[in-house]
Symmetry: D4
Subunit: 225 residues, 8 copies
Amino acid sequence: MKKHKFYEDLGFAKVDYHRHLRKGFPEVIYCEGKTPQQVAKIALQIAGKGHAVLATRADKIAYLAIKKILPNTKYYKTARIVVVSRKSLVVGRKSLVAVITAGTSDIPVAEEAAVTAEFLGLKVVRLYDVGVAGIHRLLHNLHKIEKSKVLIVVAGMEGALPSVVGGLTDKPIIAVPTSVGYGSSFKGLAALLTMMNSCAPGVAVVNIDNGFGAAVMAYSIIKQL
Amino acid sequence: MKKHKFYEDLGFAKVDYHRHLRKGFPEVIYCEGKTPQQVAKIALQIAGKGHAVLATRADKIAYLAIKKILPNTKYYKTARIVVVSRKSLVVGRKSLVAVITAGTSDIPVAEEAAVTAEFLGLKVVRLYDVGVAGIHRLLHNLHKIEKSKVLIVVAGMEGALPSVVGGLTDKPIIAVPTSVGYGSSFKGLAALLTMMNSCAPGVAVVNIDNGFGAAVMAYSIIKQL
Amino acid sequence: MKKHKFYEDLGFAKVDYHRHLRKGFPEVIYCEGKTPQQVAKIALQIAGKGHAVLATRADKIAYLAIKKILPNTKYYKTARIVVVSRKSLVVGRKSLVAVITAGTSDIPVAEEAAVTAEFLGLKVVRLYDVGVAGIHRLLHNLHKIEKSKVLIVVAGMEGALPSVVGGLTDKPIIAVPTSVGYGSSFKGLAALLTMMNSCAPGVAVVNIDNGFGAAVMAYSIIKQL
Amino acid sequence: MKKHKFYEDLGFAKVDYHRHLRKGFPEVIYCEGKTPQQVAKIALQIAGKGHAVLATRADKIAYLAIKKILPNTKYYKTARIVVVSRKSLVVGRKSLVAVITAGTSDIPVAEEAAVTAEFLGLKVVRLYDVGVAGIHRLLHNLHKIEKSKVLIVVAGMEGALPSVVGGLTDKPIIAVPTSVGYGSSFKGLAALLTMMNSCAPGVAVVNIDNGFGAAVMAYSIIKQL
Amino acid sequence: MKKHKFYEDLGFAKVDYHRHLRKGFPEVIYCEGKTPQQVAKIALQIAGKGHAVLATRADKIAYLAIKKILPNTKYYKTARIVVVSRKSLVVGRKSLVAVITAGTSDIPVAEEAAVTAEFLGLKVVRLYDVGVAGIHRLLHNLHKIEKSKVLIVVAGMEGALPSVVGGLTDKPIIAVPTSVGYGSSFKGLAALLTMMNSCAPGVAVVNIDNGFGAAVMAYSIIKQL
Amino acid sequence: MKKHKFYEDLGFAKVDYHRHLRKGFPEVIYCEGKTPQQVAKIALQIAGKGHAVLATRADKIAYLAIKKILPNTKYYKTARIVVVSRKSLVVGRKSLVAVITAGTSDIPVAEEAAVTAEFLGLKVVRLYDVGVAGIHRLLHNLHKIEKSKVLIVVAGMEGALPSVVGGLTDKPIIAVPTSVGYGSSFKGLAALLTMMNSCAPGVAVVNIDNGFGAAVMAYSIIKQL
Amino acid sequence: MKKHKFYEDLGFAKVDYHRHLRKGFPEVIYCEGKTPQQVAKIALQIAGKGHAVLATRADKIAYLAIKKILPNTKYYKTARIVVVSRKSLVVGRKSLVAVITAGTSDIPVAEEAAVTAEFLGLKVVRLYDVGVAGIHRLLHNLHKIEKSKVLIVVAGMEGALPSVVGGLTDKPIIAVPTSVGYGSSFKGLAALLTMMNSCAPGVAVVNIDNGFGAAVMAYSIIKQL
Amino acid sequence: MKKHKFYEDLGFAKVDYHRHLRKGFPEVIYCEGKTPQQVAKIALQIAGKGHAVLATRADKIAYLAIKKILPNTKYYKTARIVVVSRKSLVVGRKSLVAVITAGTSDIPVAEEAAVTAEFLGLKVVRLYDVGVAGIHRLLHNLHKIEKSKVLIVVAGMEGALPSVVGGLTDKPIIAVPTSVGYGSSFKGLAALLTMMNSCAPGVAVVNIDNGFGAAVMAYSIIKQL
């Protein structure tokens, strides 16, 4: 492992082109805290190795910086994701992942998960705004959930939805707390704690607003099938 | 429950028109985290079923988006509430709810409670700026409190007012901590903890700045009368 | 108010016999932090005025100390409550209060609520272990809930039950978080935050493990009927 | 769903015998906060339906209470788990789950996961004490990890092991923070936050010390294969 | 200051006999975390310089260790204070300090303050159990407060009493939060935050349960008269 | 107390003109959360009773709103304080208060204290930037401290200055934590906790950035002399 | 120490020109919370004594204010540092300090450390973006680390890098948590706790984002060589 | 690195005998959470390789378990440390480390540091009970500090001592917060935050009560000399 570098050194970044082998997908660019120039240079480096590029938490300026040097670039505004030259990714695993939200305000996080999952070759069913305040909306859609292999459940405020879904199905649930809420939601902490303490087993949690991480967890699971 | 949908699916939202039957009032739009377009579409859906519309945490842009498609729309600026076509709501329960604040800065939250309560057909008496630093202002107005069925007590900073009121009356008190304050008020956490630990029984607490929730709790109580 | 004392001064306690008039029930003894001797003396004072006595958070030693001087004393072990000479309390308000728990471990807190409510003359229906991990247990018992005037919903761990119940009924819900759980439940904080952030309106919250406070809130509500 | 009860009502518990169908395994008894008598009665109820019994967080007294009425009972002391009449469970899914710990002190939590996983019919490989302070111990055992379908990674103190493992493999990682540590570990909070913020994707987290929950999540995943 | 030592070095302690000059009273022994032997040796050292000894947070064992070598020793059990040879202290400042508690459970902390204040030569009036749940008990005793120079107000649970007292008088108030309470009182944090955020000016706060510190603050104030 | 109002009701505010008698100075306007119009109306009300006006946390807009209707108005920019018609205040108590800061960035809070103290008729000595990183600056100025009756010690970051000052003098110290700092200062929480836990007795603490409260506490103390 | 002032009093600041003797380098200007004018005046004072000037957390306006009066001024934009007339500093200690980051977003904090270290006469090797998600990047560069005397390891998110580096070398590690991350990183708190609880000994931690402090700690260490 | 194991596998522990080469000293046993039998087996393994054994957080039972199989065993009761066969350690680095405490109650943590440092071949000077409440005790002993290469400063409660020491010397300071204190010390959190936010540069912090870690950090530093 020490003999070969397996990365390209840009000074401000060491682009890991070995990750594709270890994890099944290339390095992903997390844009926050990076300048548009840094983002674009890393994107160029990844694309130059023949890999598809996924950049998360990308604002429009980062998108334009990438698009300028890599024309085959698309921006998913709600998801805040940039994707470049998608074709190079090995597709085929069409297993269903359900992305479920409690409310409308949780959709941006859900879209980060959904777009990432699609980038990773998964088939996604979206089921939005089925929170526990009107539980018949969830019960009415249970059949869609039953066809999926993995459920990504996204909720802010009190974050109770994963517990309820977890009581109804035997699918593995990746719970994503969101920062939707106010006051004692403490920017998602309340939802995170709710999900952590779920009495319904078969639930595991990723970071607040981490739609990307949920999608990769789903991908890791489906890769084992 | 599974056979009938009881909701309208807008993709980004599943508008629950069954809620009117379960809860006694139609679905309410919480505007934060929704685009003005989403808010307006949900409002249209609710109004289309013949229900009155209540939208909370609405800024002026959301208000204008609704007003454009639903002319009978009014904006309560201090309360940050939009109300559409109020007449359709079944009115008649004229029970008195007192909305009390400790200070002047707590008024926006109090108005969210008062306007919501009025939307729900309740009669509201407002008693503002009677905090414990000048307790004679409260004692002088006790007779107004005594005529009410439910008290909504709104306070920021140390949030001591519900305890003091709770020691003086036998009315159920819905305590609303506000984010008014600075430093170790931690945006309302201090007031929330104070109210939670009230030594005066007959006090229950809603989320920081949640005037809306307090009003619905008052409505739920009065509905049982 | 300054002219008359309306309390008996024991040095370590000023027993408030005016509370009966203001709140509708006599002063209640919170036993923690008091010696058995102090508890017994306060109980004697209250009973001496002809009032019924309720002592909460009472261990067996406190119970025995009271029983020694006031023979008509009963100990509710699970609820950790001592009641003396119940007859003196004005009974008659037979309105139904439902006390609901998510799990079996929440029962001691629920019993504190139930025994207190019965002490205050309310009729109680108990519905235990109907948490969201097996939601059919709740749905199967909805008819019991519908007959009640007020719901006290007791839950530890993630505390999601009040939100789900709140989505199904229009009754006022007094949510009681419990310290049941471990790890990131942080002794009830997770459940408290969940309940505070409930997306289902008509929910208000009392302190962690505060079954007594929930019962008094229910009593305050029913007193307005 | 409302027509049939699908549970047995013991008063203090509603034993959910429908869970076996929904989740693939019977209701599990969480012993903390329950009396030994309650635990034994619930165990009897589950066993009476012909199901295997798993009781977690069981001390020796709870074990003896069960053993008295259900002779085919075994106690796993380190894991604090009681298992009754294991044969009735449908076995056969022999997929490998690796349970990995950072240190020796994390073993009780790991054993809760391992014993639960074995109860659920999974094959477990244990890899203990391979924390990041001597990373060659982990690297030397990577081949064992590579054969597994799911990794359960258990760590206290700074909880960095899941991130490091996540950088080396493409397996889904269920991270379990433990309360091992002192001072600013805050009983597992530090490890929980570390795991939540893992820069290695493919990691999801369960509650502090929740070995049981990790095993059920692993089971849910493998059930989809 | 560097030339002279002004302290006696016991190895495990450097007894500061200069403090008497700087602060007006000798070094005080905080017993927690010290062995009875260490406590006794420090007491002997202070008494050997002709000073009175005050030892706080002293259990009975520490008391007996001191009493064995310094016969003129008295134990205040509720206050958990040991006092030795009180006469040596310069007395005379008979200014009144009122020590006020919200409840009976707050008395141990109040007694720590009262006994310390008396040790420092102040005259103390005790006013216990006048919390805000029965505010007439406070109003009825306002005349006692008015005669005092400084008020020490001790309260647990929601800690609202200093705010109410602060609204009624112009005396400086030293607020002492106590760890009395449960659940979201978080061992005094709720009361501390309440007092910190008091809307009534003229209130300053010491540590949770720090009766000693409140008394010394009162002494520092009265020393300026 | 109930017979007379002792306040003027503006609807959004009940201006307490009785406070002057109870506390020795008129009601003070806390500007945050109030509109400039509200601030100006309250100022007019207070001035109309012949009292001096003090408005804290005032930005320039609030100042101009007051100045427009009350010409004798002065703005203290660093302190963010507006003062109107200062003469009406009973002056004469020329006792010295020292206002001490650890650093330059703490000066705005210190000025809030100093300007308030001067408004209340106290004489102020300012001693800025004498923090513990260069303790000779403090030792060199000890003589100024010794002449004062009360010390207000203002510090952010680790907030150690009150402890050090408290070890050197016998003056009562009002400690003011500031939000100066970054990272784990958590906007003043670190300094607040430091001051709360001071091992030097004779220290009491007010809220983060609460220069005003410190000055009123100093005034309350000096009023007793 | 009391006889001589050893500082220059600017009113708002007491510039400590004795620090150079005590600490080996002159007073440093922390710009946040100071006006550009204050920053420039302090810089002038330090430069006037013949010392080099280091100003941290400097924005461009502060830089320009200094440059206007001290022409030999340089701005390090990424590090947010201003340096004036560097030559006057005694150079010569060319010991190697390695500044290592987990990610690209951590570079601004790392540059604050690196530029400060160079200002203090140390030789710096930068090793950026070698976080644990691709641990071969770190292993490949171990030889650079081995040549250094002190390691400054800068990481946000889960902050695991210091533990891993600490397991591989015997160099003293100064760990710097950064506020890079989102959600439950709580602005660096997660990384701080991780580093505090490192199972690899030989790690000590400075404040979140405190690159400056890390560099001075490295300098203090190397000064002892 | 993968070819050779460099550790002995005991099942519950993988004893790392390579650590001696990487870190300069053998693996150390942290006893908490391990059974006495596990501790003894690990000790035997380390001693069997010819290394000295250090076991921290050892109670008397762990000590006796080791002593039974390794006779050359010594117990340091205050430090809670067991040392076996000290001679095998390479000694010689006699550089001075000063271990300084604020109070007497901090001594157990200081002794953990001192005994560990001596085990690692360092010469230790102990300076106990020189906290900031009587700063002349510290100033009187500055000469002892000046002779040391590294300072370990141990303090609970407000934890201000490292800042003050850091203002007086140019030695690297390893600050150790202790859990000494009560109330809002939050078991050492207050001291930890104080030290983290120290305005005196040249201070880095280890975990609460982590005397061991401070000693190893000191050893790492002195090893570079």
